[in-house]
């Protein structure tokens, strides 16, 4: 996983459009989640679960993601943490492959 900023924006925005039915025209980096987009903390959890699935990563223990206020913060988060997230995604893939091999061995 090595995404450009545009790809990250595309992925996050499509999650918001598909899972929350937000209008794509409303999705600008400066928009705040609660005041502008009407998404509260429970909606954010739903969104993060969707993004976890999409990127194949775990954000559960991440403190930084809890501080996001605007859509731009989410883009920045994924861009800044690419290396960490890539490593996490690869580790998860490797673990899944190992488990599959073990299952096949049985």
């Amino acid at each position: 996983m090595n995404l450009t900023r545009d790809e990250i924006i595309e992925a996050v925005n499509s999650a918001l459009v598909n899972e929350m039915e937000l209008d794509p025209a409303d999705l600008a980096p400066e928009k705040t989640f609660f005041d502008d987009l009407g998404l509260d903390s429970l909606d954010m959890v739903d969104l993060m679960i969707g993004l976890q699935r999409k990127f194949g990563i775990s954000l559960r223990e991440n403190e930084e993601i809890k501080q996001v206020r605007t859509l731009g913060d989410v883009y920045d988060f994924f861009e800044k943490n690419q290396a960490m997230l890539t490593a996490q995604a690869e580790a998860a893939k490797a673990a899944a492959a190992k488990a599959a091999r073990e299952d096949a061995g049985k």
């Binding site: 929350m20 039915e21 005041d35 009407g38 509260d40 429970l42 909606d43």
Partner: protein, 283 residues
């Protein structure tokens, strides 16, 4: 004596600060009403408490009934003396479920108590409201849902229990008073809970009380219209995602309060003041 007072005291203009004296009179009246209610209701409260103790009936339902009667008495004997309240019931007889209201002023929790709903009504309140002196004790005894300090799962469980015990919950999903005619976005917890529990959702539009009292608790005379709207169809709640219902209720309340505001604005040309503040005819 009244004739010698400055005109601004007798008849405040719409864009002018209302006299502090008005708030003083209103709140003195409120304290007297609270004291009277406590004196009159306490023997019944004690009897009901003993009855619950002996029969094992849930005491919190009794407390909720007393809270609701308190709210009704305060509206009838205190608030509507200064701010006439009109209730339009377009709900078609819906009298149980989650009543979702917009939140402009601290008078809203009193106002919703006059809605003709079934059983003993419960409210969802912020943590600080449950720790207020005096009132907080009764809110905790009644089992008000503390939306600040509970997890979502606990809110759903308490909502389920409340609906089966008392039949009705009032919620203000904006989370805080707007103090104006604007409406903040909604928090989603009770829309999710309604979907999970299959509970009816009934929107309630409240308009006219944004300055009665305002965010600094200064009272101004005015007029309030509260309109209980048609429930959201149950099949929509069950089949559609919560956020669609949530946005729809937000839109419905925004449109309805805007229409009520227009009605109130038309009425403001004939503002009435209590007899002891104005002897002149309305303009």
């Amino acid at each position: 004596m009244r004739a010698n007072k400055p005109e601004s005291f007798i008849r405040p203009q719409p864009n002018q600060e209302e006299p502090e004296m008005f708030s003083l009179i209103v709140y003195t009246h409120m304290v007297v009403c609270i004291m009277l209610y406590c004196i009159l209701a306490s023997p019944f409260f004690l009897i009901a408490g003993i009855f619950c103790l002996l029969t094992g009936r849930p005491f919190n339902v009794v407390v909720l009934k007393f809270i609701r009667t308190f709210g009704r008495c305060m509206i009838r004997c205190w608030y509507s003396v200064y701010v006439p309240v009109r209730l339009d019931d377009f709900s078609g007889g819906a009298d149980h479920g989650i009543f979702v209201a917009n939140h402009r002023s601290s008078s809203d929790p009193f106002l919703v108590s006059i809605i003709p709903a079934a059983g003993a009504a419960m409210a969802a309140a912020k943590g600080w409201a449950l720790h207020m002196p005096f009132f907080g004790v009764f809110a905790r005894m009644g089992g008000f849902i503390d939306v600040n300090n509970l997890t979502y799962e606990e809110i759903v469980e308490q909502t389920r229990r409340a609906l089966s015990n008392s039949g009705t919950i009032y919620v203000f999903p904006e989370g805080t008073r707007s103090g104006s005619r604007t409406m903040a976005p909604f928090h989603s917890a009770f829309f999710r809970a309604a979907k999970e529990l299959g509970a009816p959702l009934i929107p309630v539009a409240i308009a006219g009380n944004e300055n009665s009292p305002d965010r600094s608790f200064r009272m101004r005379p005015g007029r309030v219209i509260m309109r209980v709207l048609k429930p959201i169809p149950q099949e929509r709640i069950n089949s559609e995602p919560h956020f669609r219902i949530q946005r729809d209720v937000h839109r419905i309340l925004e449109e309805e309060t805007a229409s009520l505001d227009r009605e109130i604005d038309a009425w403001k040309h004939e503002r009435r003041y209590p007899f002891f503040l104005s002897s002149a005819k309305s303009t």
